[in-house]
Symmetry: C2
Subunit: 312 residues, 2 copies
């Protein structure tokens, strides 16, 4: 049963009520000063916060308000996937300009779609006026042994889930005044955080994981630095979404696939059978200085960039 | 010992490094996809998110960047105080316009001051470019039996901590082109979340609590609706900060004092001795329709308003 503490008068509370109507049973216990969440005994809380800002992470001419809500929520949930955590709930902090007030329930509907797909609930939030639209998602999860970026070892293989390049190709098409393919558009507008797969990775033998939010090369650099190891990937082995390029796959940010390292014991076929998610071996960890080397048919190539929100 | 996962290149990471330098041991374990936090066995997680937006919750001509960071953090921690929770850590989600980049470490220093004063730490966050400055604070706490707004009973007395009216008087002075008194300015720029007092309230006999963020009358209305009771307060009994008015005390928002209800067993003197915090009895709960009545020397008066961020 869903119960909400009664709210008083005021426009802020009218807005919250409208969102609660959209969410129905996907929101729980909203209305007190703070949410109360049980973390199962023997597990640790895993928590992350991620903000999607108008004209930085999306443009409203590209995707609908409902897509924006969905995408912002999945982007945040992806951090739980990368830690191997089971979602316990999300909190939504929205800053809404006056001109966007009418679309508020559409943003909320997208958040609701995403929490339903990830089998979790909305447990709290905050709404405020402001000149720039933003959606701040705080995600709460639990894991007995959270995965981190710091466990990659010399000799591990490097793996990635899914097929890459879609979000980068979609943004490039929009910025050139065109329209992306249906597949590339969907990868940007309706990304799928690999929440179930992430929870299986630890038992499957993963030693380090990161989610693909900054782009493959940049995110692999995070594993390399955190683990104190060197990573080499072969460009020609990257799984590429139809219509995208190998270099696009190496640089495309906000994919929300998982990159992980694992020893010889990792059984890719069993993992794919269990999760329905293809995984591709793209390189290996060795003992060089912390960093990432990209090769193309054995020849070292320079892949510059990686997604940095401050540069958008 | 403070440990941070190594971060890769990029302006976003340079910004995070600069903040970590400011925070020193007040930040813990930053740099993975998500933070890992232990919630003690037998306790529940209490979590809230609160966003402070430029020109909505503050103006940069009124207070310093360091004050803005402090105030945003205490505003969020106040929600833990209202639930009687012990802080476990905070996450900071900042949206920073290009023009504010130089002041980033000042905002961070204010956040650091506040977490030090509340005896907690920064466990994670997110930083993004964007057209409007905002600070989103998610606060994590733990409590064996969290307090809520919903437990007020017929016959309870209504109490409030501290002295009221300062923030409202400060904003009024600034908006009229003047300068507030030192005391009123301090109440706005450097509010003190009643975190230690909140943790004692349950054992002291409080039945319902709320923090004073929307203004006394509006917040008491939250307790009345959540508990299904009627509240009557006597205007002349409100504790008023020097230089403020009774009506100002009834309406001033963002006080971050605690309003609570308690039965006859509540010992105000013992509570003040334990917390160093004055408490004042301002009214009582009766069995009328959910709502709030304000009287002045026994005569009912209308006090309109209450703080609504959408109206600022």
């Amino acid at each position: 049963m869903t119960t909400h503490t009664s709210l008083g008068a005021g426009r802020e509370f009218d807005a919250i009520r409208a969102m609660l109507d959209v969410w129905g049973p996907r929101a729980r216990g909203i209305g007190d000063d703070a949410a109360i969440v049980a973390v199962p005994a023997g597990e640790q809380l895993v928590v992350s916060t991620d903000t999607s800002v108008d004209n930085v992470h999306f443009r409203r001419t590209w995707i609908s308000a409902r897509d924006i809500g969905y995408r912002a929520t999945m982007a945040a949930l992806s951090d739980l996937a990368a830690m191997g955590a089971r979602p316990l709930g999300v909190l939504l902090a929205m800053v809404v300009p006056e001109a966007d007030r009418a679309a508020l329930v559409e943003y909320a509907a997208g958040v609701g779609d995403a929490v339903a797909d990830a089998e979790t609930v909305i447990v709290g939030g905050d709404i405020s006026a402001g000149a720039t639209l933003s959606l701040g998602l705080t995600v709460l999860g639990a894991a007995a042994r959270p995965l981190t970026r710091g466990g990659a070892r010399h000799g591990d293989a490097i793996w990635v889930t899914g097929a890459l390049g879609g979000p980068g190709a979609a943004v490039a098409a929009w910025e050139q005044g065109g329209e992306p393919s249906v597949a590339c558009r969907a990868r940007f507008a309706r990304p799928c955080a690999r929440v179930a797969a992430g929870q299986l990775l630890g038992a499957a033998g993963a030693t380090a994981t990161v989610d693909l939010s900054d782009g493959l090369v940049a995110d692999l650099r995070h594993i390399a630095h955190a683990s104190g190891v060197h990573a080499t990937i072969a460009l020609e082995h990257l799984p590429v979404l139809a219509g995208c390029t190998l270099r696009g796959a190496a640089l495309s940010g906000e994919e929300y696939e998982l990159v992980f390292t694992a020893g010889d014991g990792f059984d890719a076929q069993a993992f794919t059978t269990a999760t329905g998610l293809p995984v591709t071996r793209i390189g290996h960890i060795d003992a060089g200085a912390p960093g990432v080397t990209v090769t193309e048919h054995g020849v070292r190539v320079e892949i510059s960039g990686g997604h940095d929100h401050f540069s958008v």
